[in-house]
């Protein structure tokens, strides 16, 4: 990563690939309690992105209650009694579980990584943003509403062609610039590429409630 890019807080797409490999190694070693990040190739096999899926979050929210589709037809339908036997135990989940998928995808126009995420319950039903917000820790919600650089929008996933939430990248280069300038160690040792994603995720993760362990930053 040339110093010019560094100075602007951006990185090239090849550098993103390098940063991603270093990041995966680092993460999977240090954060074994989290699911691992993997590198996924797009269907063209040329570009790739980082993926962390099925991250489980026990939610304190209550069960939805009825099934997700309201409508008179559904509930009033008479089902024939189906055979059940005594050897069957039916689960009752005391806590509502939410699953999160996170993707880190390189954005060509802003030249920075972008965090895409989506959440769903155990039936696979996607969660609305206000439900996701309830899962976020208090400091995240504050970060989201305070900062002019961080806001969440919903856009089509560049490879999966479905709406995902994303942290809008328009402010990323600004605060990455600040991060790199503020940390002399980073600037001097010149291993900025390898640490780009860790540094980036330490800010972004803060916004979505994903705490990055300090050990990851200590790679130097």
């Amino acid at each position: 990563m040339g110093t010019k890019e560094e100075a602007q807080g951006t990185l090239s797409s090849t550098d993103f690939g390098v940063a991603a490999s270093a990041f995966i190694l680092n993460w999977n070693t240090v954060c074994s309690s989290f699911p691992p990040w993997t590198w996924v190739l797009s269907h063209h096999q040329v570009e790739g992105y980082l993926s962390l899926e099925n991250m489980l979050l026990s939610s304190t929210q209550e069960e939805h209650g009825e099934l997700s589709c309201p409508g008179p037809g559904i509930h009033s339908h008479q089902e024939d009694p189906i055979d059940v036997d005594d050897a069957t135990l039916v689960h009752t989940n005391p806590c509502k579980v939410h699953y999160y998928d996170l993707h880190i995808i390189y954005c060509n126009s802003y030249r920075v990584p972008v965090l895409y995420f989506r959440a769903y319950d155990s039936d696979g039903e996607p969660l609305e943003f206000d439900e996701i917000e309830k899962d976020l820790p208090a400091y995240s919600k504050k970060a989201l509403s305070d900062s002019k650089w961080t806001f969440i929008t919903q856009e089509e996933h560049p490879y999966l062609n479905r709406p995902w939430y994303k942290l809008h990248p328009c402010g990323t280069s600004e605060w990455m610039k600040l991060l790199f300038h503020a940390d002399d160690a980073l600037a001097k040792t010149g291993v900025a590429i390898e640490l780009y994603l860790v540094a980036w995720l330490s800010v972004v993760g803060h916004v979505v409630g994903l705490r990055i362990p300090f050990e990851m930053m200590k790679q130097l």
């Binding site: 089902e79 005594d86 050897a87 696979g124």
Partner: protein, 685 residues
């Protein structure tokens, strides 16, 4: 554990990823059509990896056969890995909700159970043990509402009498320390090898030296030495400490039929952080009483396995409208766009006012089409277009809502075609078309037509009444008269756009004459600077003058400015009463407003690439918006209108313009208008 208790198995739980439904919809729309023959699919599961949450049998987009392939074999098709053990299944997707509910669930379950039974007897289940967890899915995909009804069944052969549980404890409590270490190592090796990672049933063989090896179940013979401990292991999705998972049911059936064992020691294999977790895993012993007739292949045992939802025997339903319905996606994308504008640049943007505003567009030609598009871009959803013309062959080039198809067979009515076109651009628009001519002064009405004209006048009155803003986008001066009067009468926001060959005028009318109690000077309307009433401007003109020629760039510019002017009014604290500001002015008002200056009139010239702003006050002699005229209309209504239409000098007489002209000419003053634009020639294509 009392030896009399039966083994109670935790039911398999399903989880369907959104991608599966997307793929199924696509398959249904593009390939299957109404074909509802069963589709082989692949489910995926992995051993439990969390102490409080069970793992699920998951369906993903990859679970369905790819669209380009032909039918794949009944065996598990998609490749697996350690986190995705593939399991074969079958999908019955119906074409209606009625047929979904009418499916014979008993016999479908029986059919799948029979496949498992056959695989057990033929030995296939020993070779490819994943078939023991074969499953069934019935569904109905409602592709209009984007809701999916579905129900899983995990067929389990019922032991009758049921297996009894001798004991069940944590694996770490059952094994000795040495055994536990060895078992963990062996299991982790099994899980890490790509050859065996996705094989969900296996044997754990522990020799007298506590050395454990994990083997394929087909190698059962080799584990038969004395002194060896043998456990039947399987990937257990369940996390519960007192119950083994569902796959054990058919495993026990297999063991009983193939090897005729009465006592079975089993290992419910569970993990944590990717490694064997013997604290979470369970080891138990079950006693099987082989039911009569089980050795006989022909005698199919009963089966259970329809998934329960929250303790009830019902199908499930999921709605994906928000992420699949194109109209909803279009709406949220449009909203997002405007919100971004507000977040990033214009925090005071009033999106609610824009989306609730009702706009009336008089004229659906070059100006009307462009204004409609610009309004939609600003988030306006309610648009009414009035035009009595049909789309002509030359129109699509300059009138951006029409295409060649609209010109065929004599041409569609513009108002109708425009509405259809708007709906194709943005499905959530609430657009209405009115095919109607606007009555005009100077175009006298024969008495047999009078009723129709009166009807049109009333209709126009009602249209103006029921909208919040009116755009005058017609192609003659005189056609703007009646709308101006009606708007002045009801104090509606009115915006006029008019084109010359290479120049344009865009202006907002001032407030109506009776709109406020104070006597402050109102801004003028389109007619305020006239000295003659609107007359028939189209008679006695050559063809090219009638059919207006304007430089093509004018209409888009003028239309865009007209809409921006409206947005400016909407965001101005005084609205329609706002004073006219000049560009580059240093008046305090403009610096406060985030949208900038709010002019009264904008006149532009393409030949100069220039634009200027003007302010004009209302005239007491105005033939359209003066208090004289408006009160006359209020008193006499349609009678007054007809009179004005039929007698061109009536308005001038009424407003005293005639007198003014007389006295003016007697003083020989030069009344030449020094405007760049000659209003008499303002026509549009």
């Amino acid at each position: 554990m009392a030896s009399e208790s039966i083994v109670v198995f935790a039911q398999f739980q399903s989880a369907v990823d959104e991608g599966f439904w997307h793929r199924l919809s696509s398959l249904k729309l593009n390939k299957l059509g109404i074909d509802d023959s069963p589709i082989p699919i692949t489910g995926f599961y992995a051993p439990c990896s969390h102490p409080q949450v069970s793992n699920h049998l998951t369906l993903l987009a990859e679970s369905l056969p790819s669209e380009s392939n032909e039918q794949s074999s009944t065996a598990a098709t998609s490749g697996g890995n350690r986190n995705r053990c593939p399991v074969p299944g079958i999908l019955y997707n119906t074409n209606t909700i009625e047929s979904f509910h009418a499916l014979d669930k008993k016999s479908l379950l029986k059919a799948e159970a029979k496949k498992i039974w056959d695989d057990i007897h033929s030995g296939k289940a020993v070779e490819d043990s994943a078939v023991l967890s074969r499953f069934l899915l019935i569904s109905f995909a409602d592709l209009k509402k984007w809701t999916f009804h579905y129900w899983f069944a995990f067929p389990a052969l019922v032991l009758d009498p049921p297996a009894t549980l001798v004991d069940l404890k944590r694996a770490s409590q059952y094994f000795s320390l040495e055994e536990a270490k060895s078992v963990s190592v062996a299991c982790n090796e099994w899980r890490n090898s790509s050859l065996t990672a996705d094989v969900p049933f296996f044997l754990v063989c522990i020799d007298p030296n506590s050395l454990a090896t994990v083997k394929h179940i087909k190698d059962w013979e080799t584990c038969q030495s004395d002194g060896n401990k043998l456990l039947f292991g399987f990937y257990d999705p369940c996390h519960l400490p007192n119950n083994p998972g569902w796959p054990l049911r058919n495993f026990l059936a297999l063991i009983s039929v193939r090897w005729n064992l009465k006592s079975v020691r089993f290992l419910c294999y569970r993990e944590n952080r990717g490694f064997a977790d013997l604290g979470l895993s369970l080891v138990g012993e079950a006693l099987i009483t082989v039911p009569q007739g089980w050795r006989d292949h022909q005698c199919l045992p009963n089966a259970v396995g329809w998934e329960q939802s929250k303790g009830r025997q019902v199908s499930r339903c999921i709605s994906l409208a928000k992420s699949m319905d194109p109209t909803r996606l279009a709406i949220s994308a449009a909203d997002l766009n405007l919100k971004l504008m507000r977040w990033r640049a214009l925090p005071s943007l009033n999106l609610n006012a824009l989306s609730s505003m009702k706009c009336l567009l008089l004229g659906a030609g070059t100006l009307g089409c462009q204004v409609a598009r610009m309004l939609m871009a600003w988030g306006v959803r309610k648009i009414t277009l009035v035009d009595n013309g049909r789309v002509a062959m030359s129109n699509p080039l300059r009138q951006s809502l029409y295409t060649l198809d609209d010109c065929l067979n004599g041409g569609e009515y513009k108002a109708t075609a425009a509405v259809k076109s708007l709906g194709r651009i943005f499905p959530a628009v609430d657009a209405e078309g009115v095919v109607m001519a606007i009555p005009m002064p100077g175009h006298p009405v024969p008495s047999q037509e009078e009723d129709n004209v009166l009807e049109d006048c009333r209709r126009l009155h009602d249209l103006v009444d029921s909208h919040d803003a009116v755009f005058l986008l017609t192609d003659t001066r005189e056609s703007r008269w009646l709308p101006t009067l009606l708007c002045a009468n009801t104090n509606k926001i009115t915006i006029t756009a008019a084109l010359g060959f290479d120049s344009f005028l865009v202006m907002r009318h001032g407030a109506g004459p009776f709109s406020s109690n104070d006597e402050r000077q109102r801004l003028g309307c389109y007619f305020c600077s006239d000295v003659v009433a609107p007359i028939d401007s189209t008679a006695n003109r050559t063809l090219d003058q009638q059919c207006t020629v304007t430089r093509p760039g004018l209409a888009p510019i003028a239309s865009a400015l007209a809409v921006e002017l409206l947005v400016g009014i909407l965001h101005h604290p005084h609205g329609i009463f706002a004073d006219g500001e000049l560009a580059n002015s240093s008046s305090s008002g403009s610096s406060e407003l985030p949208l900038g200056v709010l002019p009264h009139q904008i006149r532009g010239s393409l030949s100069q690439f220039s634009q200027m702003t003007l302010v004009g006050q209302s005239s007491n002699s105005c033939t359209a918006c003066s208090s004289t005229v408006v009160s006359e209309y209020r008193e006499r209504g349609m009678e007054f209108i007809i009179q004005a239409i039929n007698h061109p000098t009536y308005l001038e007489d009424l407003t005293g313009l005639t007198e003014l002209m007389k006295s003016a000419s007697s003083f020989k003053l030069d009344w030449d208008n020094d405007d760049d634009v000659d209003d008499d020639d303002c026509v549009e294509i």
